[in-house]
Symmetry: C2
Subunit: 216 residues, 2 copies
Amino acid sequence: MHRVRRSNPLALAVMVTLAEGPRHPYEIAQTLKRRHHDESIRLNFGSLYSVVNVLERAGLIAAEGVERDQRRPERTVYALTPAGHDEADDWLGELLATPAKEYLQFEAALTMVGAVAPGRVVDLLGDRIVALDAEIAGGAARLALLVGRHELPRLFVLEAEYQQALLVAEVAFVRALVAEITAGTFPGLAQWQAWHDGRSTAVHPPIPVSAPRRTP
Amino acid sequence: MHRVRRSNPLALAVMVTLAEGPRHPYEIAQTLKRRHHDESIRLNFGSLYSVVNVLERAGLIAAEGVERDQRRPERTVYALTPAGHDEADDWLGELLATPAKEYLQFEAALTMVGAVAPGRVVDLLGDRIVALDAEIAGGAARLALLVGRHELPRLFVLEAEYQQALLVAEVAFVRALVAEITAGTFPGLAQWQAWHDGRSTAVHPPIPVSAPRRTP
DNA sequence: CGTCGAATACTCGGTTGCGAATATTCACCA
DNA sequence: TGGTGAATATTCGCAACCGAGTATTCGACG
């Protein structure tokens, strides 16, 4: 009956889905997939069932009983409790109101980009630009199809619009960076290049410098 | 000696750091923190030591021996192997060239935003805008300080610039959304509102619609 | 001169997360 | 008719992850 850690958004998605009515876990997964929420929330069966267990132990959802739909495996149906309702409401509010620190793979890669020679970086980022453009085009087409034909109200594609906005910003950033490097106007390019001219190996260290630290 | 899963970028950061020369794990952590890489890569001691173990078993790094710096706890010093060098090079290239699917908390929240009444959404997102503006201002000031005073070459703040670009895009997206809702021009706003007028509870279900699925 | 906090260096234990396996039934096609 | 593959519904076990704990020493301060 103790507090549940607000780490895995799948737990929130389970509660919000159960707010529509009692479901068994497999059915929750079906619903999320039908709505493409599995593209925005990490969903796999192992995690789903373990998350459901945690929620049950915390009293946020409760098993309504075990059904057996004649000739189908038996299944446990869960319902949202009042406590679960409050928790979902509060958690969702927090996610919307407070920006969370995210650790992005590309951001991580950028911290180590000095370990790759500038020429190779230009090539690699060129590939990324192509891939990003393709993703953006695909996403835009999909959005136009769904909303344009009124298959889905805009309310239910906001997450896709958000993704598009981030992708557009990323490709602009990468394009600008590549442009600076190829034009030779990127500050410190000479040292960066020189460092790599000295060695045959590609992976190498950036120069460490200490700097004031912001409060987390 | 088997392959290592490319899930945790900390493993890559360890290898790239070791490319500068042999270090013991605690020293790797110090280095990453001094360079603020811990703001872009999830770093804590538990994960660090387990990641080091995995890398060693995979033959990507090797223990050089156990030192004891008189009156200090003993420590194991590791070095990057040639195989580790290749792996780091390849992994880093992949991260730079190929956009990875990221599961963002705010994106997850947007999939469930229909469960919150429009008026409350406007309030919550208003808070987010304030917080985002503050983060952007803080980040810009920090960048100006570091690069403007030539404390750090731009090469070593690219990840911060990338973060800024994403934050700016996000706040623009949220602002536009809030504007549409408050202006009443958001399509489907009436139904959204009506749904919530019907019930006292805040968490509720969005309308499910099936739609064509893109290939992952 | 004592002690309190920060730094050093690592270990440990418990949860979480994930992929694969399981077992059954249905739908379809040859 | 029988065989293949998809759908249904869940369990399992391991690997990863994280936070807290441990033990020591150094430096600062009163």
